[in-house]
Point group: C2
Chain length 465, copies 2
């Protein structure tokens, strides 16, 4: 890396390509090619989605990408929220289509016509499914890798429940799942309820998981939505109750995307490159042989190490001939591999290896008899350290303000009292040139920064990506 | 199943939905919803693709879905082959796009502009990548589940090599990989070279892996293409040779799709439903407790069995309260689970379980002390049996003909001598109302069925899906 993380936007742009996550030269704006290393990272995250959602009783499905205009138009608010940002397929071959098709920007309108066929009685509930797919949004704002893309790698879960209470319980479960995902990825976050004018189109309310990037701007990295009966009424998703009457189901959704990688890059990275959390790292341990005259001997021992570690870790031996150990150090630091294992002639003599932590650069010599355990515990330590230091950093950027003074310049989240009215909310946003990214669950008595009314509601004010 | 496999088209249509693979009621023709059981089967196959191609040195990538019209139009034959069957995105939001975008029907035109940036010198070769994606074809013919779809779940590998010899070596490697895939899925096949007028648009030559469905029609379930320099010239993919000169790379591809599931359904299924090959079965062993008065006791033991088997097999305990064992037998036979494990009070007394093979319905009692090993060997036997019986069935449908008489009525592949000229080839096709699905590698002296010229070339004549 030539660029220090101090210059965050340039650093972010450069590191993504230098580390080999994606290639941005694809000739359509806002769409990139996922390179092997980046795709493996994404797939490791996907695998965790599968594991955790399956554990919580969700089934994986796949719905078609293309949605007929007629289905899309059933829920009014939802259309208005998306009509300016969907891609339209109008022709098949040389012929115009009878019914235009859109590329899913999210899958409510693809799924819910089927939900109305699948759900008949209370015995069919709850219905809990998820899918991992490509979605499309015709973004008119500036695009940014992983953060604001036109093709997005997307996770979405959808549930349907008999009662509002059960849907509310699902929201709590989704939050529980979110906490596990954030832990796995070592990402700091705050949970907020979105304002009425910023909630998901068609939702009763939306909850956002927001993190703070080194630029001070916030990034929404997870969203949980309570739909109640808004969509089920539009899509006629009814069930027969035990008492013989019918009711519309209550629905929730949970969405996450490649933005998680954007957050990992931005939050954990440093002047040397990426720092990938161990649990999802494509390579957890990279072996770099410290080559010397008795080269074959060192390489042979490095291969033994590879074999010994392979069953316990995702490990890679860098046996490239054309590069020096120094270049390899640089390269794997850039790619953020959590542990570098060095082995040279002296280590072989002493029956040891040298381990170097990517997060702190601490160097440890450890005997071959104990190194499997040591690597295990080091990976856990690195994971813990990433959580602790990123949380510390993020929370240092959340600051209370008693007036609007200084909010515009604050790099992070400004916490203010807000009476909750849209009028005052909009004024907060206009005066600071920022947005209310949401309302924290925490309550605290005080006075609205605009109208002075007594309130226990807080607002998080920030500049979101 | 109400319908016997004798009525193959109806049987095929019905079983796919009854077994819970997909839901065909999605409101766009040629696109279906993958249900959890079907999607798991597809994902097991995908996982094997990943395993085998990674082993052979391929890296997984992901290229964008949307291809600009300008890139698509670079290779003339390729466009002409696809221009009638691509979907066009013409609008983003309410605005017409400056450059129209198409949904990939396959990814040559998305990938190769990047190949020309990635490949600089001989040291960058060979390049071997693959991706697993959704592709789109605006099929005007009748659509058919898994077989002829408008959205297709697709595997594609792409390679680039310095020399023609290396590209030819890759074709041989692709064939080797294909054989492993077919073995894993227990699918019978023949390999043929496609005719000039049936090869992939832009290819120098194409090889098809063809199987025969119970209807007697053939299904192409894998394709391997040699492009030589046809695309590299169009996309300017050059490399610097060791001698300082430049040359265009030589390219190959390998494609497979959800058709593999169509073949599994059609070829292995029977009057009771699906028969899924053990290696890729979502559930390998289903435990059905034979419920009696001391129900809890039986269920408890069934749960112990589940725990004992879980580490070795993909196993499911059907503890649904509302259904009888008889209904459950029916249900899991329909879904094609390779082994049913029955456990009832008498089995518990005798410390045994009963195993029932899905392929032969053979029943075996086995003691709990030996049942893990027995299940392992049974799964292998089932796999072997599916290979043997499906090959026997398929090869019984490949028949030599000395004239065109009877070919029209033959349900399967008719083998005839052919001089190799397009004129005679077209006449064979017209007179039989079938197609030359390809030329087998095997040679044999004889006379062309049309012109009578001496030839050692054979043609496979059949009605393809």
């Amino acid at each position: 890396m030539e660029i220090s993380k101090e210059n965050f936007p340039e650093w972010y742009t450069e590191i993504i390509e230098e580390a080999g996550l994606v290639d941005k030269r694809y000739p359509v704006k806002g769409m990139h090619v996922w390179l092997p290393y980046g795709w493996k990272l994404m797939r490791n995250i996907d695998d965790y989605f599968r594991e955790i959602f399956t554990k919580y009783g969700h089934d994986e499905v796949y719905f078609p990408l293309l949605v007929p205009e007629t289905e899309f138009k059933k829920e009014g608010e939802h259309i208005r929220g998306f009509e300016n940002e969907v891609y339209w397929v109008t022709h098949g071959g040389l012929d115009p289509l009878d019914v235009k098709l859109l590329l899913r920007p999210t899958s409510e309108t693809a799924m819910y016509p089927l939900f109305s066929l699948w759900i008949r009685t209370h015995a069919d509930l709850p219905l809990k499914i998820f899918q991992i797919v490509n979605i499309f949004r015709y973004e008119t704002k500036q695009t940014r890798t992983f953060i604001r893309m036109r093709e997005v790698h997307f996770f979405e879960s959808h549930t349907a429940h008999a009662t509002e209470e059960e849907a509310e319980e699902q929201i709590r479960e989704n939050i529980e799942i979110w906490k596990k995902v954030a832990h796995k990825l070592a990402l700091p976050y705050v949970l907020v309820r979105k304002t009425e004018w910023d909630k998901f189109p068609g939702a009763a309310y939306s909850i956002g998981a927001e993190t703070i990037m080194p630029s001070g701007r916030t990034l929404q990295i997870g969203t949980i939505h309570q739909y109640l009966q808004n969509f089920s009424r539009a899509y006629e998703i009814q069930y027969l109750k035990e008492d013989g009457t019918h009711d519309y189901v209550h629905q929730t959704t949970f969405g996450m995307s490649e933005r998680l990688i954007g957050a990992i890059v931005g939050i954990h990275g440093d002047d040397h490159g990426l720092v990938i959390p161990p649990e999802i790292a494509p390579i957890q341990v990279v072996i770099v042989p410290i080559v010397s005259k008795n080269k074959e001997n060192v390489l042979e021992e490095a291969r033994k190490v590879l074999e010994e570690l392979r069953n316990n870790f995702r490990v890679h031996l860098d046996d490239r001939d054309a590069y020096t150990p120094g270049y390899k150090f640089y390269d794997w630091e850039l790619k953020g591999v959590p542990i570098r294992l060095e082995i040279g002639p002296r280590d072989i003599e002493k029956n040891q290896v040298v381990l170097v932590r990517r997060d702190t650069f601490e160097k440890i010599s450890v005997s071959r008899g104990e190194y499997v355990e040591k690597i295990s515990s080091l990976l856990k330590d690195i994971h813990k350290n990433l959580i602790v230091r990123s949380n510390k950093e993020m929370f240092s950027r959340i600051k209370e303000f008693n007036s609007l003074d200084g909010i515009r310049e604050h790099k992070g989240i400004a916490v203010v009292h807000w009476c909750g009215s849209e009028e005052c909310g909009r004024r907060i946003e206009e005066s600071t040139d920022k947005r209310i990214i949401g309302i924290p669950f925490e309550k605290k008595p005080g006075k609205c920064v605009i109208c002075g009314k007594e309130t226990d509601t807080l607002a998080y004010v920030a500049k979101p990506y």
